[in-house]
């Protein structure tokens, strides 16, 4: 079966290319906003991966449009480099967490130039309203005994 044999199919291919490119552009822009504005280091990395996904969609769309394997091969290498990047970057994130106890990108603003001003957090409301509304399961069976470690266990994520 030949995909681009008739003009109708070629027009379909053009529309598919444009729609897929728009999807890729939206994913890329979302990742850009996330990496610019979020302060959690891991969420920043997730946003970078989202940008990579947008690029992958665009590459495969062009590959389909031109009937060429180049985009597919490039996406395979993007996957490879993303895996390497995630491994090395997560090691650095863990080291940063071990030093500061926070996953906050702003914890490292002491590395800025001396002439730059320090960015200060906005005022936060004191109470965390989200914590009160977590669903609770009906207790079943015997309640476990409270030990000294119980306050250390997290109730939710």
């Amino acid at each position: 079966m030949m995909p681009f044999a008739t003009p109708l199919l070629a027009a379909t291919s053009m529309a598919l290319l444009q729609n897929a490119l728009i999807v890729g552009a939206i994913l890329f822009a979302l990742g850009l906003v996330g990496i610019l504005t979020r302060r959690n280091l891991i969420v920043m990395f997730l946003s970078a991966e989202l940008m990579l996904q947008g690029i992958s969609v665009s590459l495969v769309a062009w590959s389909r449009h031109h009937g060429d394997w180049g985009g597919h091969v490039l996406v395979i290498f993007v996957l490879t480099v993303a895996a390497c990047e995630a491994a090395v970057a997560l090691v650095f994130v863990l080291q940063a967490f071990a030093r500061t106890g926070r996953l906050d990108a702003a914890a490292w603003q002491a590395l800025r130039e001396a002439i730059l001003v320090r960015s200060v957090d906005r005022e936060l409301p004191p109470s965390d309203a989200a914590a009160a509304s977590w669903p609770r399961l009906t207790p079943a069976g015997v309640l476990p005994e409270r030990t000294a470690d119980t306050p250390l266990e997290r109730e939710h994520v």
Binding site: M2, L16, Q18, A20, T37, F97
Partner: protein, 270 residues
């Protein structure tokens, strides 16, 4: 574009969609002080932006292909947006897994079967689990204060919207330039120097990346390990270097931390 809105020009729809997207992202991003009404307004504006982008897109040929593409791309975009606006980073990672599922669906619609499966296996199976592992190691319980605020949400939402608007404009102009469409000869044929003046049907079918071919993965493998063999070798070396580098950084970093702790204790006892 959309027959239901004949009075609105595509440019106007695009501008409205981009503005709605920026406002909705700004309303949904963690800003420290959110009201429930602002979030609902953000969700409504986001839905309006999505509808605008659907109206900007072009009709595909078949009804089945079109509806499948619509569903998987909406899944990808909505979960991608949820990835960056969710407060809890664990939920963020899980939304990202759903976005990966949507992207894999888009890749499947585009005919990249191997890449769709590889995205699920490599990203959702390996990379995302690594992210979750680090999150569980490092995340304090409850919501950290730095997850409840973001730095300059308005400026970044506007920057993303401007980028998106420009990209969509450029993509929309593709259809008016026929020189881009369909006339480019396949690179593999051009490189091997065997560009025929009048390719027979057999040769053309061999060159084109036919998404419906049974041996699509075999052809991709032949391309990957034929023309790109050297790049595959380099990628293997890169994986090895990343592995060794990660282990080296971990061990040296722990040694440095131990050293810091010991000097701190010594200073305190002295």
């Amino acid at each position: 574009m959309s027959p239901a809105l004949p009075a609105l020009s595509p440019g106007l729809i695009l501008a409205g969609a981009v503005t709605a997207a920026a406002t909705s992202l700004w309303l949904l991003l963690p800003r420290g002080s959110e009201s429930r009404a602002a979030r609902w307004l953000g969700l409504l504006l986001g839905a309006a932006a999505l509808a605008g982008f659907v109206a900007t897109g072009r009709r595909l040929g078949g009804l089945g292909e079109e509806s499948v593409f619509l569903v998987v791309s909406l899944v990808a975009i909505v979960s991608g947006a949820a990835t960056i606006v969710t407060r809890s980073p664990v939920y963020s990672a899980i939304w990202f897994a759903l976005a990966l599922a949507g992207v894999a669906g888009v890749l499947l619609v585009l005919g990249a079967q191997f890449l769709g499966v590889a995205t699920i296996v490599v990203y959702a199976g390996a990379i995302l689990v690594m992210f979750l592992f680090v999150l569980m190691l490092a995340q304090p319980s409850g919501l950290a204060p730095y997850d409840r605020v973001s730095s300059e949400p308005l400026l970044s939402a506007v920057a993303g919207a401007i980028l998106l608007g420009l990209l969509t404009l450029a993509i929309g102009r593709l259809s008016t330039e026929p020189s881009i469409c369909c006339a480019v000869p396949s690179r593999s044929a051009a490189v091997s120097g065997t560009v025929p003046v009048e390719p027979s049907a057999n040769e053309a079918a061999a060159v084109v990346a036919d998404p419906l071919a049974n041996d699509q993965v075999a052809r991709l493998g032949a391309e990957l390990f034929g023309r790109h063999l050297l790049a595959v070798e380099v990628a293997g070396v890169l994986l090895l270097v990343a592995l060794i580098g990660a282990i080296a950084v971990v061990s040296r970093g722990e040694a440095a931390l131990e050293e810091d702790r010991r000097t701190a204790i010594g200073r305190a006892s002295r």
